[in-house]
Amino acid sequence: MRSVETLRMDKFLAMGGFAQYVWPAYAAFFVILAGDVLATVVRRRRVLRELRGRLARQGTRRPRVSA
């Protein structure tokens, strides 16, 4: 016996027979935007690592001169 909730969920997921179009469209929306966010997170880490290396190399040997 399947519960009423399960049946309602199945009906929702079926999207009136258009599930194969509706869900990939929503997936595309969220996956591509997540990619945009992830790209920024990765770039931020890379830039910070680079800048930290730069600071470490400069060290405290000489006073920093702003460019």
């Binding site: 929702f12 999207m15 009136g16 027979g17 258009f18 179009y21 509706v22 990939p24 469209a25 929503y26 595309a28 929306f29 591509i32 935007l33 990619g35 945009d36 966010v37 790209a39 920024t40 770039r43 931020r44 830039v47 910070l48 680079e50 800048l51 930290r52 730069r54 600071l55 920093r64 702003s66 460019a67």
Partner: protein, 252 residues
């Protein structure tokens, strides 16, 4: 008015913008996610199936906001590019160049979701009609701007060249927008109007508007995040970046 003008000019200063962007970013994120959550519930659950398209019409709630954003982001980018070319403030260059990938993402979403909507409604994933073709051209213009920006060793020179391209590419915006009016196309005409009544049921309209506003806030959040990273990279060697990097190391 004076206080506003002062604040506006302060925003043009990279270290000030960096702090400001970091402060508003979590708020933009929160608003975007809340609006999207309510909008998705309204669109996927509360709105009734369309009389003609059944549940396939629900693609509208991701397709239309993305398509609108593909033009909106371009508009913001083109204005920033114009300011960057004429007055050359660094912030305008950063905002223009960091908008391009976000706009490209929204354009790609509009193309993919539109294709997935076209198959059950028109019987084809793709057709070379005016709206679809001009939107595809928009995507290539975005890619061209991104590519040109990265083709230069000096990012400021790259931003300048890419800003020119962004301004020229703006001629495509009215073509995309009016393509459904000017040409006989498979794509349906406008159903949401700023002035006068929209030809869409209120139960479908409010989730659509919420998703649209959510997308705008998402753009803001993403742009702030991207601009902050770009500033760290562009302003390397400046004292404020060194301070920021040390502070960031301190808390992980």
């Amino acid at each position: 008015m004076n206080a506003f003008k002062l604040w506006y000019h302060k925003l043009g200063s990279p270290p000030y913008f960096y702090v400001f962007a970091g402060y508003i970013q979590p708020w933009l994120w929160t608003i975007a996610l809340l609006l999207a959550a309510v909008g998705l519930y309204g669109g996927l659950v509360l709105a009734p199936p369309d009389a003609l398209q059944g549940d396939a019409f629900r693609i509208i709630f991701v397709h239309v906001p993305a398509a609108w954003m593909s033009l909106f982001v371009y508009g913001v980018m083109a204005v920033s590019a114009f300011v960057a070319v004429i007055w050359r403030p660094k912030m305008a260059e950063v905002l223009a160049m960091e908008s391009a990938p976000i706009g490209a993402a929204f354009t790609l979403i509009a193309l993919i979701t539109g294709s997935l909507w076209g198959k059950p409604m028109w019987g084809t994933y793709w057709t070379w009609d005016a709206r679809l073709t001009s939107e595809l051209v928009l995507f290539f213009i975005y890619l061209g701007i991104i590519g040109l920006y990265h083709a230069f060793d000096d990012p400021r020179q790259g931003a300048r060249a890419a800003s020119f391209l962004a301004m020229i590419g703006a001629v495509n915006l009215p073509i995309v927008h009016y393509s459904v009016v000017w040409w006989n196309t498979l794509h349906q005409g406008t159903t949401v109007h700023y002035f006068g009544p929209s030809s869409i049921a209120p139960s479908m309209l409010w989730p659509l508007l919420l998703m649209t506003i959510a997308a705008k806030f998402y753009y803001g959040a993403s742009l702030m995040g991207r601009s902050r990273v770009a500033l760290l990279s562009l302003e390397r060697g400046k004292d404020w970046v060194a301070d920021e990097v040390r502070g960031d190391t301190a808390h992980g």
